[in-house]
Structure formats: C-alpha cells, structure tokens
C-alpha cells in the first residue's frame, strides 16, 4: 500500500466513513452495519438498504472492504448472509481520515474559542 493508493480514496464520503467504522470492530453483515451506524449516531443517521449496499459495492471497488469467508459460529444457520471485513487499505484510509477530521476539529475548536 502506498500513499498514492490512499490519496486515491481520500477524503472518504460520510457513508464510507460510517461503513468502515462499523467494520473496524470486526466483520459484520449488512443488517448489523445498519444497526451499528444507527446506534452509534444516536439514531440520527439511518442508512437505507440501497444506500448501504451501494456504499459496500463502492468500498469493494476501492479495495477498502472485502466479502469475508469466515463467519461467527452463532450465525451458521444464516448461510446466505454475506459478511464484510475491512482491508488493510481500508483501515489505513479510516485512520488517515480520522486524523484529518481530528486535525480539522482541533483547528475548528481553536478558531471558535478565539472568536468568542
């Protein structure tokens, strides 16, 4: 993975950011991603099915996410469900994006405190 690969995917869209955040905790299926995003944004962000899967497809195309072959034993009965996992590039992109957002937030805070 090079900086060039990262530059090609950054900055991440909000949907991609949410998807990668949900997956960095471990592989998940679509419904779980949806619930995770809803729970971690206090129900403010609700991804519809179409939005979720077009985001997954884009993330796959960009190499940020792969469909996972492993699945937890508890979910053996749901064979048709697809699980998704974040790739090293995805993780790096997420890290870089969070860094960028963090820096932006710091600058924004500083600016606001000076201004008041």
């Amino acid at each position: 993975m090079s900086d060039a690969d990262l530059d090609a995917v950054l900055p991440l869209s909000r949907s991609l950011l949410h998807l990668l955040m949900a997956l960095q905790e471990g592989e998940r299926h679509g419904y779980a991603v949806m619930k995770w995003v809803e729970d971690h944004t206090g129900g403010v962000v609700r991804m519809g099915p179409g939005t979720l899967y077009t985001t997954i497809q884009r993330a796959e195309t960009l190499g940020l996410v792969v469909e996972s072959r492993d699945r937890p034993p508890s979910d053996e009965d749901q064979r048709q469900r697809k699980y998704y996992d974040v790739t090293p590039l995805g993780l790096a992109a997420l890290t870089a994006e969070v860094e960028r957002l963090g820096a932006f937030v710091d600058r924004a805070r500083a600016a606001l405190s000076r201004g008041r």
Partner: protein, 907 residues
C-alpha cells in the same frame, strides 16, 4: 430476521429492485430485501406515522441508490472493458452456437433459408419497383411544384392545350411562376453517313425554369429564338444527353456545332441533363432527342375562338411556393369561366374542362393501383413464408424439447434460451435476407427485360440503398414474425420437466392454425391473380376491328425543306409504296396518317350537305388519311359501298369513307350515308364536298377499352384539297407479307434509303406488336401477380405437406399400435385426412372471406370482371382443395403403409 414472506409491500419492493443494474441486483438483492423487511417490521411497531416514515425513507433510499448503482456500473465497465465488447462477446457466442446448431439440421436450415429468401427477395424486388415508380421524385428541381396542364372534352379524357389557352393560363392566373409548353414532332438527323429518325419536341424558352433543370452543356433557348422560330425556320436546337452520347460521343465541342436536321443546317446550343425526360416522355420507349424553340403569343388574343384554338400542345407549370395543386386548379377554372363569359368560348355541349395535375400523379398515377396490388401480393408471399418458417420452428422446437429442458435444468435462464433461439432465427433470416437481396437483384433484371417501354419509369427500376434498407427491415420483421412466437412457446411453463418427455397437442394446434393462415393468404392471392387473368383474357379477346396479322408498319416523314410541295410528297409516297409492293414476300401495301392503338387520334369539324343537325349534336369526326388498299391490308371489313381505290386521287372525284360509328352518329335512324356529301371545316368560303362512298367497320384507336369514335378516311391523294392545303408529309406505311412480317423490315429500309439516303425509317414494328403493346400494362400485372401467386401456392402446399407429414412421423408409434390392434390402412388414412381437412377447410373459408373483402382494391385494374366473380372463386377454391388434398394424402398414404412391428420397435 426475515419477516413474513410475500405481502404487497414486499412485492412492490422486489419489483423496484429491477431499477438497479442486473449485476448489482444479482449480488445484493437478497441483502436488500432482508434489510427492507427488517426495517419494515421495526416500523410496524411505530404505528401509522412509523410506516409512513418507513415508506418515505425507502423511496428516498431508492432515489439515491439507484443512480449511484448505475454510475458505479458504468464506471466499472469503462475501466474494465468496452461495454460494446461485452455485448458483442455475447452476440458472437450466440452466433457461433446458432451456426453450429443450424448446421446440424441442414434440411431444416436449407428449407427455412430458401423460403425466407423467396419471401424477402420478392418483397424487396417489388419494393424496388414501388420506390422507382411511385416514391422516387421526378428528375426535376423541386418536383412537387411541377404540375401538368391538359384539357378534357367530350370523348377526350385528357388531351392537348391550345396556344391561347396556355397564354391565358400563364397571364391570367396567380398560381404559377411560369407556364411552359411543348409539342411533339419528328426529326430526321439527315447526315448522309448516319441518318436517324428520332423523336423531337418544340418547346418554349422557359421549359428549363418551369421543370427545373440545369443544362449538361450550353444553354436552353432564349425567348428571342422562340419568337424568331415562329416566323422563320429555327436556327438553334438543343439535344438530349442520350443523343449527345450516341451521336457525338459526349464531345464537349458539340455545343456550337452546326448539324443538318430536317434538311437544314442548325446550331446545337445546348445539351439537356442526363436522364431528363419531358413529362410526356415517361410512358414511351422513345425519348425526345432534339428540341426546337417555339413561343406563345405575347397576349391573350382579343377574340378567343369558341373551341379555344387548335389543340396540339402539352403544358406544364411551376406552382408558386405554398400554392397547392387544388388552388391552382380552382384558379385555372376561374380563368376558363372568364373566357366563357367574355368570348363565349367552350359551349356547354363540348364539355370542356381544364385539367391541372401534380406531375408525379400524372406520370405514374395510372400505374399506382397495379404497383400497390403487386406490393400487397408480395407482402402476402412474405407472410406465408414467415408462417412456413414459424411452422418449421415449432416442429423443430418440439424435437429439441429435451435439449432445451436439459439446458434449463443446468441453470440457463429462460431469457438466455429465448435469446439463443432468436439468434438462430436471426441467422436464418440474415442468410435468407442476403440471398433474398440477390434474388431481388435478379428479379429486377428480369423485370427490366419485361418492361415493354410503355410503362412510366419502370425502366429506371434498380436496387439502391432504399431497397437494401427495405430488405434489412423486412428481414428484421420476419425474425419478429416467425421467431418470437416459437421461441416463447419453446420456453413455456414446465420446460424443466420435459426432459425426455413429449409435449401435448398444443404445438400442433398452433401448427394447424399457421397452415390455415397460409392457405387463407394464398387463396386471396390466387383469387387476385385469377381476376387479373380473366381481365387479361377479356382484353385480349376484345375485337379491335382490324386484323393486322402479318403486317409490318413503319413511319416515314418527309422534310418539308426537301419536299416542298404536296405533289412531291405524293410522288415519293406512291413510288415508295409501289416499290415496296414489288419486294419478294410482300403481298400488299398501303399507308395511313396514324395507326390504330399506336397513337391518339384527334377530331376535325365537318359539315354535311343538306343536313339539319339535332341541337347540340357535335359536328366533327376523327380524321384519318388513307392510301388505296388500307382497309384490305389492315383487315378492316367493308360494311357498305366501296373502299378506297387507286383512282381516288387528285384527278378523280372527291370521295371519303366513314366508319360505322360515324354513320350511327349522324343517321341514328339507320339510313344509308353512301352517296351523301360531307366537307371538312377549313375556314374556306366554299366547302370542298366529298361524296361518302363507303362505310367500314369500327376500329379501336385510342386504346382497347376506349370509346370508339366516329371517323372519316380521306384518300391520300385528295388530302391537300379536302383539308384546305394540308400536306401529307408524315405517313405510316403498312405492308402485308406472305411470311413473318419482321423479315420484310431490312429490304424495306434499304429500299427507302435507296430512294432518299437522308430519310430515316422509324417505328418499324409489326401491327401485331402494336396490338400486344396495348395490353402491356395488364400483361405486366397479370404475369407478376400470377408468378407470385404460384410461389404462394407452392409455399402453402409445402406448409400443409410439412405439417401432415410431421404429424405422421410423430405418431408412427400410435399408428403402429392402432394397426396392430386391427385398424385398417384406410382408417388410418381417413384419420389423418380429417386432421388435414380441418386446416384446409378453415383456411379456404377464411381466405374466401378475405378475398371478397380485399378484391375490391383491384377493381380499377379489372375489365368486365366483377371483384366477386363467382367463377373465379369457385375455380380457385376447388383447385386449392384438390392441391391441398393431394398434399395431405401423400403423407397419410405413407402412414397406412407403416409396418406395425417396426413402428413399435422404432422408439
């Protein structure tokens, strides 16, 4: 996690998934539905507000995600491969498979391809005719604005204009940019090395602007040249492109050259564009080659004569932009009304009407019904071909049931199988269409050979881009017609369970229906052809009133520059006729001004001595000049009195012979006209009385079915005196021969040349050919409709035979069982015949009804046959029933000979 399956919401959402690209739907469809259901069951707990919010979110989600999914799909294709290539790969794969499949059943493939080739080929060839004759614009600039001008009188449906009429239409109307006129004439190119008699025309200087053409070289006439030619000999001529090629090898130095035409040296000032024809030159084999200038009087004459002047001109006009033909017609009508009011012209009994026609309608309008009837015929042939191939497909699909079932079981999508079957149809149609285009090309070549030269624009028929486009469209159409039905039938319900099994009787019902449909179409065509045959039969048995077998005719026109007096002309004609009569094999010779059925004849006002005409009785008759012996050579019977004799010359007493129509017209009580005296109205103070010495039989002149008009025959030697100074310079010689009249042509030509090397002999043909040419258009229609109907019958019979024969093959085992159980051969034959008979009877009934409904469109082509002529229908239906019975009986007979033991072992 899934909610209860089904429910309308579920179905709506599943349907909405089809908005996504296929790949996306295939991959994420189950996930999408799962999430949708999960969300919906959550929303259910929140009551109406929750459900509303849920559906709102779902719609917003779709609106956001569907375009995104498509954007991604297109982006992926662009980065990976050309989407066109993806499609083409699939097509290539299907094509390869189709070719392999088809080549495994060569019999089916060959039959299907040939059938389609015949269907597409005949349709394309006739479309070529429609295109050239009816659709392709005339070779004029902005041809929709060109109209032709004619006159109509009692007894003349469509005839010439006079100079003063043309002038009036030009100066007193508002609709025309210009009016040009022309008249026909004959021309001798009198160079001694290459004398040639050609058609010529006198034309006004604005012909080029009115018709809209650019000269190939030089210029057209000036107004001054026209005016000068009215008072003296024309110094300038314009020649056709064909004459330029033929006589001068397209030499650019031809313009400005002086050549001898009609005995006088004249300058060629221009060459007309290639393919140019006068509107009156379309229905003739001979195109005007030499043009002389002429001019119209500058003003409408202050006194307009009752009859409008002498009528010898053709007219055309260019409409002002935005003026319709109807408006121009009304405009010309108003002019005629003014002429009636101001000058008392056109008394009502003459029934004069001006005619204004769109040039296109005028030139090809008469062919339109025949050409459209032909187009209808070949479309039917194409439909029959499609039905036949569809039938073959159905039979084959049945044989392939197992193959298709295996493919379906192995996971082939239904859509994929349909696509494959359609590809096979497309390959068949493509090959058939290509072959068909070849057939069309050959057909058009044959067609041009058939063209007698009297049908407008038929000589121009060719295969061009429009015809190729039509063939392609016909090919695509046939794929849809014969391919789609069987393809969907093949993948119908239960496909996967048909492996190794046999389907029910559904398919054979379809096949029976298709055969009945073909039969019906074929019956319609054969009825149409039958009506045309009867029409043609009636036309050819019309008694033209003259025999003319073994008679050769030729035209000789003496230039008035060399033969300046009537006496010189008479001397030449008499010497030529005498010498011709002495040629070996020539039995008798004579001459006349014009020959019946060869050209139109016009009338001349007459007076009868001591005759009190009934009010409104037209006092005129068609005028003919005849040499002694004319009636005998032409086989026109004498009814009363005597015919013309050698003594009826300039020294003898003035005589005239009239026809029966003339006698009936003036003496309806049947009293004998022989001995009475008549005179031609010449404007002289004293009439030149001629004694009527004989009455001869009527002959059809202006067309086989045209009204036979009163006519009088003035002796050649007395023409000058009778007509008040007319000169008999142009005559048609007729020679009856002992053997084939065509063999007399060469000796007669060399005889005339030996008498005057500058004279050209023209229109050399037998009188039998002239008669045949009079039925050329009906013959053309009858030959083509007959040929196509035969093709249709052949295809329909192949269809019946195929279905019955296939039914026998399929039921070999059943028949074997029946026969093993004691059924007799004839019982089996009867069983199969009954099945065939049902199709045939249904087809015949439907076809007869359709023919009754459709045949009225032929009525304008028919002569003395009603569109519902019972004899034709009965003959056609009986003939069809017989042919169909044979086509059914042959395979049924085969079934009766089946050996039960072998039949039972067969499967």
């Amino acid at each position: 996690m899934t909610g209860r399956g089904g429910g309308w919401g579920d179905r709506v959402y599943r349907g909405a998934l089809y908005l996504y690209p296929r790949a996306f739907r295939a991959r994420f469809g189950p996930g999408l539905v799962e999430l949708f259901r999960a969300r919906r069951s959550e929303a259910r707990h929140e009551g109406w507000a929750g459900r509303l919010r849920f559906w709102g979110e779902t719609v917003v989600d779709l609106m956001r995600a569907v375009p995104d999914a498509w954007r991604q799909a297109w982006a992926a294709r662009e980065s990976n491969e050309n989407p066109w290539e993806v499609v083409m790969d699939g097509v290539r794969q299907d094509l390869g498979f189709a070719v392999r499949t088809l080549s495994r059943s060569p019999g089916f493939t060959a039959l299907a391809v040939l059938t389609l080739a015949v269907g597409i080929g005949s349709t394309s060839a006739i479309f070529g005719v429609v295109n050239s004759v009816l659709l392709r614009p005339l070779p004029y600039g902005d041809p929709d604005r060109v109209v032709t001008l004619w006159s109509s009188w009692r007894g003349f449906e469509k005839t010439w204009l006079s100079e003063s009429e043309a002038q009036a239409y030009s100066s007193m109307t508002d609709s025309f940019e210009g009016v040009a006129v022309w008249g026909g004439t004959n021309v001798n190119f009198s160079s001694p090395d290459n004398p040639e008699r050609v058609s010529g025309a006198l034309a006004t200087h604005d012909l080029d602007e009115v018709l809209g053409f650019e000269m190939a070289a030089g210029r057209f006439f000036t107004e001054e040249e026209g005016l000068e030619a009215e008072v003296g000999p024309a110094e300038s001529i314009v020649i056709s492109h064909e004459a330029w090629l033929r006589r001068y090898g397209a030499d650019p130095a031809t313009v400005g050259r002086r050549v001898e035409v009609n005995g006088r040296a004249r300058e060629i000032v221009g060459v007309l564009p290639e393919g140019f024809r006068l509107p009156t030159d379309f229905g003739t084999a001979t195109v005007s080659d030499v043009y002389f200038p002429m001019a119209l009087p500058r003003e409408v004459p202050s006194s307009f004569s009752q009859g409008g002047g002498s009528h010898f001109l053709f007219g055309a006009a260019r409409l002002k932009p935005g003026v319709t033909v109807e408006a121009a017609r009304a405009d010309v009508g108003r002019v005629v009304d003014r002429l009636r009011a101001e000058f008392g012209a056109y008394p009502p009994e003459r029934a004069f009407e001006p005619i204004v026609l769109a040039a296109q309608d005028d030139i090809v309008g008469s062919l339109r019904p025949a050409v459209l009837a032909l187009l209808g015929t070949v479309v039917f042939v194409l439909l029959i071909a499609c039905a036949n191939v569809a039938n073959l497909h159905l039979a084959r699909a049945r044989a392939r049931t197992s193959e298709l079932a295996v493919r379906a079981a192995l996971g082939a999508e239904r859509r994929r199988i349909v696509r494959q079957l359609l590809t096979e149809s497309a390959v068949l149609a493509g090959v058939g269409g290509t072959l068909g285009l070849g057939l069309a090309w050959a057909g058009v070549e044959i067609f041009r050979r058939l063209d007698p030269g009297t049908l407008p624009r038929v000589g121009d028929v060719r295969i061009d881009a429009a015809v190729v486009a039509f063939s392609v469209a016909a090919t695509v159409g046939t794929v849809i017609l014969f391919g789609v039905g069987p393809a969907f039938q093949a993948v119908g319900p239960g496909l996967r369970h048909r492996m190794g099994g046999r389907s029910g009787s559904g398919t054979s019902r379809w096949q029976g229906a298709l055969v009945a449909f073909e039969m019906a179409l074929a019956v319609v065509l054969v009825v149409g052809a039958g009506l045309m045959v009867r029409t043609f039969d009636h036309l050819t048995t019309i008694d033209a009133g003259f025999d003319g077998s073994r008679v050769l005719s030729l035209a000789v026109s003496l230039p008035t520059t060399t033969y300046t007096t009537p006496e010189e002309m008479l001397t030449f004609h008499r010497e030529a006729l005498r010498a011709m009569g002495e040629l070996p094999g020539v039995e008798a010779v004579s001459a006349a001004r014009i020959l019946p059925l060869a050209s139109q004849i016009g009338d001349w006002g007459v007076s009868l001595e001591g005759y009190e005409p009934a009010p409104g009785l037209p006092m005129n008759g068609d005028w003919q000049i005849a040499a002694p012996g004319y009636f005998e050579v032409m086989g026109i019977p004498l009814v009363r009195g005597r015919t013309l004799e050698p003594g009826d010359d300039e020294r003898g007493g003035m005589v005239v012979v009239v026809n029966e129509a003339f006698a009936r017209h003036f003496w309806p009580d049947g009293s004998d006209p022989v001995g009475r005296r008549m005179a031609m109205n010449t404007g002289a103070d004293e009439p030149t009385w001629m004694t009527i010495v004989g009455v001869v039989g009527d002959v059809t002149h202006n067309g086989l079915t045209a009204e036979i008009k009163r006519k009088f025959y003035v002796p050649l030697g007395q023409w000058n005196a009778a007509s008040g100074g007319g000169r008999p310079n142009s005559m048609r010689y007729v020679a009856r021969t002992a053997g084939n009249p065509a063999t007399a042509a060469a000796p007669i030509r060399s005889l005339i040349r030996s008498m005057d090397p500058t004279l050209a002999v023209a229109e050399v043909r037998t009188v039998a050919d002239i008669k045949a040419a009079a039925v050329s258009q009906p013959r053309f229609t009858v030959v083509l409709m007959g040929a196509f109907s035969l093709v249709a019958v052949l295809l329909a019979v192949i269809g019946i035979y195929g279905v019955v024969s296939y039914g026998v093959t399929r039921r070999v085992r059943e028949i074997g069982v029946r026969m093993a159980l004691g059924a007799q051969g004839h019982t089996v034959v009867g069983l199969l015949l009954r099945r065939g008979a049902a199709m045939v009877v249904a087809g015949l009934l439907a076809g007869t009804v359709a023919a009754v409904l459709l045949s009225r469109f032929l009525s304008s082509l028919l002569y003395e046959v009603r569109p519902t002529d019972p004899a034709t229908y009965v003959t056609v239906v009986a003939g069809f029933a017989a042919v169909a019975a044979a086509a059914t009986w042959i395979p049924a007979r085969r079934a009766a000979r089946i050996d039960p033991v072998r039949a039972l072992k067969a499967e």
